[in-house]
Symmetry: D3
């Protein structure tokens, strides 16, 4: 188990990231993920910067859909922490049980057909190569 770095005991560079997380999310809560990777400040800074840009920056994909994509990847990898935190995030953005069920169905079906394609060693159609 990793030590979680609380705001009060954090260095200035870590506090700066925590402050930005709070301002970006308009919420004081810092979840354990950030408190854990704060043990290595450069990783905290780089990771927060990436998550902030990718998940909250302007873009063509709707913020709720971004959360769904995140959950689909996390369920595929079996990352318990990421499934729990992003499911909470998606619910806060409006995901209900039906949408979650549809998401799980898509992710599960993709995992199924991925292995059929692998196992049957199926050549990519010419028309999909361009």
């Amino acid at each position: 188990m990793t030590k979680l770095i609380e705001y009060e005991e954090a260095s200035e560079e870590v506090r700066a990231v925590y402050d930005d997380i709070r301002a970006t999310r308009q919420n004081d809560y810092i979840n354990n993920f950030w408190k854990a990777i704060a043990n290595h400040p450069p990783t905290l800074q780089r990771t927060w910067q990436a998550v902030k840009e990718v998940m909250t920056g302007p873009g063509e994909i709707d913020p709720l859909m971004r959360e769904l994509i995140y959950i689909a990847v996390s369920a595929t990898n079996g990352c318990e922490y990421c499934i729990a935190s992003h499911t909470a995030g998606a619910r806060a953005k409006g995901m209900d049980d039906t949408m979650f069920g549809e998401l799980m169905a898509i992710a599960a079906t993709a995992n199924m057909t991925n292995r059929l394609a692998n196992g049957y060693q199926i050549p990519v159609d010419e028309r999909f190569k361009t």
Copy 2:
């Protein structure tokens, strides 16, 4: 390499699935995935039924977003065939280079944070458990 079952040589039960694929997609092209798994007709039938329901049935998630989720899972698993075929499918539904770039950025970031969460053995926050 698996033998691909062409329509002309297919059994009646396989042809019925091919006919439904064509009708559902309003397109005569049957891609190699179906021609390969047609070597085992029950798997062809069950898999097409699932893909049809999950990817084309009514639901809260937009058909283009469903393709994005499919691609994110397939890129995570490294399934070359599925990446190629669903990228083509998403482009046909309107995905441009920017949307694809955003999708890849989300999938890549999720794969990155999944491993940080695993490696740091981060406990799930109480508030994410309910």
Copy 3:
């Protein structure tokens, strides 16, 4: 691409493994997997010893079923080489198209339900814990 070590140019310790592969399989063909890992003789020796014991030694699981399990894992991991070589091995031991189709269906279904179990964060039933 790794250099493949042919018998003629192999060191004595590598030849000894190649000889044992030929004797165990009663077949002169050495497939590329062994010729590649022969670049590191201790890995060649240890890996062949493990594969020989696990796949050809006495045991409760039938040799053909062992090949099916191997293929299921390899399809899950997307290892093209291992899928191709063990599918050939299973066919040589009697696997036909129907059995391969059933195997793919089981592996695909397991990959599907694995992600549903992950995504829904399902607690293990008490009765499965003992």
Copy 4:
């Protein structure tokens, strides 16, 4: 944590699936997997239909061997729930400690050689391509 849907509070369509699970297995117990995915009835119906056909339908692969294949995939993916439930299922069908040990040895060896084949970038032998 997902809410588990008990029989008493379930909708009619969910109860119909639960009834079929009980009849097929000749056992009243509904395990948590089904109670969790019952939050999305179409996923419950489709998934049960697939598992029923693939795991209990007629076929060339013995029901116990099907469980072993399922466990090998689940251990490869690290799905704790599926490992626990299918290990219980396999034990009920006759798997003892030795058979489980052999299964783990095969799955572990395949996972090992899969990475050697990947890492050494080994070309597939011509004879394995047909």
Copy 5:
């Protein structure tokens, strides 16, 4: 949960492995991994032999670096047990919080770029093929 085989109740062949673990590590503690796989003595013997050779034998890669590689793989696969045990092992060999943070950053970055390379279907440069 698997029964853990304690030294006192172990068979002679299992005790011989436990004795060798203790002698090799110059430490009396046998961790749960070995006590669990001792349920299948041939797997215990083969696995210990491999781990002993690969992790403690002579070689060009420093023992601490071997532990880091092990952790990177285990974090990629999400194996909680292996992450915990090898993190303890690496700390005993001198890994501090900064080195662990760097390791996690490398593993996370590799997992990120692996999916970009997959998703963008990037052809291998000619110069990397030789």
Copy 6:
């Protein structure tokens, strides 16, 4: 297949990244990975920044060891492009066949024991939890 963006046709922001890659590596060659993700400039910028910091910045882990860790992760994920490019990178930094063989042996062994730990559902030792 993704279009590769050559320097001559690149936008100014993309050229700035290419220039930094060349300056950092003291080598004019831009490999396909960067030319592909240049289709989405923010992903190109963020990814290069991360790779540059993590792989070439100051730190406790030797640059060659960083490449080995990268390869171990890429082999575990089966990312052909990343295996090929980072193997070339490691060889340029001094990796010989023996060191590569040792690396593969460690990665393969970790993949093996990861699945034994998963499959046997081994509880983490108390002493590894602190």
